[in-house]
Amino acid sequence: MIPGAVHRFLWTEGLIAVRFLFENVMQTLLILVGIAGGVAVIVFITALITGLQANIIERTLGTQAHVRIMPLDEVNRQLPPADNAMILLLDSPRAQRLRSINNWQAIRDMLDAAPDIQAVSPVVSGPALARRGTARASVALVGIDPERYQEIIAIAPSLIAGRFLVGDGHALIGTELARTLGLGLGDKLRLDAGDGRIAVVDVAGIFELGVRELDARFVYLDLKQTQTLLDLPGGITVIDTTVNDIFTADRVAARIARLSGLRAESWMETNGQLLNALRSQSLTTQMIRVFVGISVAFGIASVLAVSVVQHTREIGILRAMGSSRKQVLRVFLVQGGLLGLLGSAIGAGIGWALVQAFNTLGPGLFFIPVPLSLIPFAMVIACLTGVLASALPARRAARLDPAVAIRYV
């Protein structure tokens, strides 16, 4: 019974709907152009904003960890006041000395096992002064485990000279620092971490991450040498991690902080402005999509309302010949669905072509990928919009009094 009913539905209503649409080719073409234009705008703007955001996120998060785990700040502790006593407190905040994360190996292993965390890299990091001859620059020493750190920030692809090598007295420096101190590959660099802890290292590679601050200040060494320089034997100061879904970083950070009792900072906290910008962009895109969608829906609805009037007499004849109200209703719903489907197929094609044109002929600032799922998704939404938009005209058609409709001239 059910396949028969579906077959009947597809055949009779589909046939009448298609013929009605073909009867007024000009009218149908015009509304198709309208739908196609709307869908093209939606597809293009969605791809553009998605591509733009992916690009911004990649550039920003390409040079920083998603979640950084650090020891809690040191605070002055107070004794609880005795009963009925009042305390006048003069509290001078403590200087935050460089400290290691206690028992960091256990925390690293726990993070390694977490399913939503992609990469974990312990880092020891602190300030130092770099010298060459009489030139000086303040730098940040970053002691890394090379394999693990590569998963957080890909330095090797950013190298413009030399190779990715730390340890055994080798260091990686940024282009800005190399320029300031006049350093080239193989040159000696003197690092002074204070209290007489001094090391001389070879420049093994020069990187350019594209962020001025990092290129001017970061000096990558291995863990052991940095620990010695910073007087933190066996310790680490930060655990850098990346997460699978960057927009869950704040939740992951909160969970890590709760579990480890440490401070965990997500990129979302440290890049509040960026996150705000991304969210406003998404909201704007969403609004453009909704309003274009509404315009398309009204276009479909008005064309079908006209079509109902144009076909009043035919509807009367069909009803007299034994067509049910539901059949008439479906004839117009199918018309709306067909218009949406066909218009969105054309529109998605135009949108795709616009994106390709942008990628090949545009300013070339970044590449916009078109997610394959976007096109069928847009078509399904447009088809549903068409069916919904046709609901009112279809209802009017179904409610026509056949005795009156037949004599409609």
């Binding site: 013929r19 007499r313 004849i317 007299a320 034994g322 049910s324 109200r325 009094d401």
Partner: protein, 240 residues
Amino acid sequence: MSDPASRAAVLRLSAVSKTYHIATPQEHEVLHGIDLRLESGELAALVGPSGSGKSTLLNLIGLLDTPTSGELYLLEHPTQTMDDAGRTRLRNEAIGFVFQFHHLIPAFSVLENVLMPLILRHGKPGADDIEQAQSLLADVGLAGFGAKKPSQISGGEQQRVAIARALVTRPALLLADEPTGNLDTQSADRIFELFRQVNSRFQCAVLIVTHDNRLAARCSRIMSLVDGRFHSSASASHRP
């Protein structure tokens, strides 16, 4: 009801009234207690001046409208208790319509127009449906016209297509509303002749609403409607 003849009636109306604009100042009764009985094989003409209620009565009989009071039985189905879907189904199965202005659907070919009642009933037409439609087209003298569009044929030809369409479901009752109203005399005669043939060949009851007394006189029975009541000559005698 005990009368055996009443069970064979195709159509039976008893005390049917129709009032428009009920409970408004414009309220007026168009039909006043109509009694009517139509048997299979009858060829009846319904005549009357404009405004006499002919169209209203035809709408009621064609199940396009419902009476305000009274009972209407089609093939002994009590239609006044049916819902819209039930009346629609019965209309599709038991009634064939022919209208004054042919009322073919311009978006479909002649053959598709003839097949339309079957398409509405069960979707894609089968080979036997198409064969039947084509033989009906041949019966009305339009063999080979199937692929044409309604706009490509004359008014008389369109009316023949409409008759073929009305017959494709083998209805028990054929209703014609001024079927020759806008045809020239010659075409009108041919159309009327076709009704006569259909009537004798398919043994369906035929009810023709007409202004044309000349045509009415050639029917086996004439019912005259005046001001919503059958005139005294309503049960006119059968004529050959």
